[in-house]
Symmetry: C2
Subunit: 362 residues, 2 copies
């Protein structure tokens, strides 16, 4: 076993379970790592590292769970516009238990449940040290998967519903495609919690009725297939007002069809491109309907936001979760050793499955 130094891992003199204690009492972390960009199933491998000494601002965390997100896959493939240094431990979010804290760490104590709130920290490892400012203590009663997957999809949904149109303040209607995606399920639940009517577009499929029922149970006002949207009369018949905000993770015909149903001065926010087709907008929509079109990327938001803004958002999301108003989308726990199953799922689902795979370090 090669024990190489890895700056992000720090040593701890302890005999906690699962720790590999070497002759010099070094702590060893089991981690996934890649040294070159490529197919995750080829380039991501296990290795064990001695954790270096804990710095004064550092927190040693035993990871409990970390999801496999589309962005993780794209980063490993070298296709994601976030710079990482190689070798790199993948994983952008996750939850763990604090084992030990550095001398100057404040507000975090051993035993606390913490989430990683900043990307590219490397969460796919059983034990890791993080700078205190990338962690946030969460309530113990917060569900494991909710905590592990809190910073990407729920926060993306939260921001898109907050930053572009005053949907919450004015009770404006929201329409979204890819409504069964992990983010889409969060959008529906936050809409319900905030009393916002929402129209949800999904692709047709054999189990469409079950899917509609599932999304309606989450809080969907209407669920329509893309075909049904084309000929729907719900807006003409004023069963629901025309949407002011469209959330788009598909592009192509799907986003075009959504924007056709928008109110005057409506906006569309694009956060994904599942169809791989670009967003197409008729000139007349821009000029005569005062349509406007934006993009959203959680990573970019996090880079610009103040810690106060981030805290406000995360606290609100946590409240929704602990009040049982926001639960994690359909997911499957996969033992850390079987990570290839989770990665394979993310690769074949093109990143927009309704079922998220979560690495289980317990």
């Amino acid at each position: 076993m090669a024990l190489l130094s890895y700056t992000k891992l720090l040593p701890l003199a302890t005999t906690a379970k699962n720790y590999v204690i070497t002759a010099s009492r070094s702590l060893v972390s089991k981690q996934l790592v890649y040294t070159e960009f490529g197919n995750p199933l080829d380039v991501v491998k296990f290795r064990e590292y001695v954790v270096p000494p804990l710095g004064s601002q550092d927190v040693l965390v035993r990871m409990l769970a970390a999801p496999v997100n589309p962005a993780d896959i794209n980063t490993i493939q070298g296709k994601y516009p976030v710079k990482v240094e190689l070798p790199c431990v993948p994983g952008n979010e996750g939850v763990g238990t604090v084992e030990e804290i550095g001398k100057e760490v404040k507000g975090i104590s051993p035993g606390d449940k913490v989430i990683v709130t900043k990307p590219v920290q490397g969460t796919w490892r059983d034990i890791a040290s993080f700078k205190q400012d990338v962690l946030k203590v969460v309530p113990n009663e917060l569900g494991l998967v909710e905590a592990a997957t809190l910073t990407v999809n729920p926060c993306t949904a939260f921001r898109m519903l907050s930053d572009f149109k005053p949907v919450r303040e004015k009770g404006l209607v929201v329409i979204q495609n890819g409504a069964n995606s992990a983010c889409g399920q969060n959008v529906i639940q936050i809409c319900k919690a905030w009393g916002i009517k929402n129209v949800n577009i999904v692709r047709n499929r054999p189990e469409i009725n079950e899917l509609k029922q599932y999304l309606q149970n989450l809080g969907a006002t209407y669920v329509l297939t893309e075909e049904e949207l084309r000929s729907t009369s719900i807006f003409k018949d004023i069963l629901i007002e025309r949407p002011s905000l469209a959330l788009n993770c598909v592009g192509g015909k799907s986003s075009l069809e959504m924007l056709r149903h928008l109110q005057h001065s409506g906006s569309m926010v694009t956060y994904g491109g599942m169809s791989r087709d670009p967003v197409t907008v008729p000139t007349s929509a821009y000029i005569f309907k005062n349509f406007s079109s934006y993009g959203f990327w959680m990573t970019a938001w996090n880079e610009k936001a103040s810690s106060i803004e981030k805290d406000k958002m995360i606290n609100e999301v946590i409240s929704l979760m602990t009040e049982d108003k926001l639960k994690a989308p359909v997911h499957k726990m996969v033992k850390f050793d079987n990570f290839a199953e989770a990665v394979g799922n993310a690769l074949t689902s093109k990143g927009f499955t309704g079922c998220k795979y979560v690495l289980d370090f317990c």
Copy 2:
């Protein structure tokens, strides 16, 4: 001659030249009018009307010049999303001389040069009465064509350069397609007056060198054909910074090519669709480049703006014109009787000719 009443025309007891004085001393206006939507060359006809008595808020204006704009043509065709009542006198802008004022009119005097600042007032007639609040007195030294064509293209250029990105305050670079259009020529001149570098895209044509020279003389920093834009190195070589604002009146490939050269967080404003292709935006531009896309329509702006905002804009445009920093685009004066020539030109040019036809009532 059938003398029908027409509520927008008011009588005046005067013997000014060109007035047709009937037995009862009624004033007769010669006007273009259409009673049904259709091909302007078929449905627009001359007629003469007795001008009804001047109301207390009304101003009698002898028109001097009025342009034939694409919007005029589209309105007559019934394709423009502005409601008009039939029968309708076409013409949305123009300049004239005040002949007489109603009892309660303030700030406007006989002999003043005035422009019509609100659409759908019907400027294609030799004499007309307008409510005082749709008129603005302009300096006598303001050029006839500049005055007649002030409210659409110069104001559109002014607003697009003011309302979406702080190009003036921060010296950001602007890129536009259809740069030889009437609006495009205004954009170039306002950019020059404000010290804003600008990149101008035009279609290739036999007389491309003359066109480039003409636009450079107006103030263009760079003029490129659409083909040249695809392979240009001016941004790579940092001869000019990447643009932050793109103005689009073409759509399709042209707008796509422009947005590829934008800075991070750049915006595009669409105000026309000359290619008849929609605006297409790659998903990655929205998400990873924080691109945003808007539309602009002068008519809608005018409906929402306060009279203070309008005055501020028009005064600034007039100043630019009287300081010789902003001149009317290439134009041709056409005698009122020969209006069909002007309309025919607007029909065949698809509304984006570099040469604007202006009706001459003198």
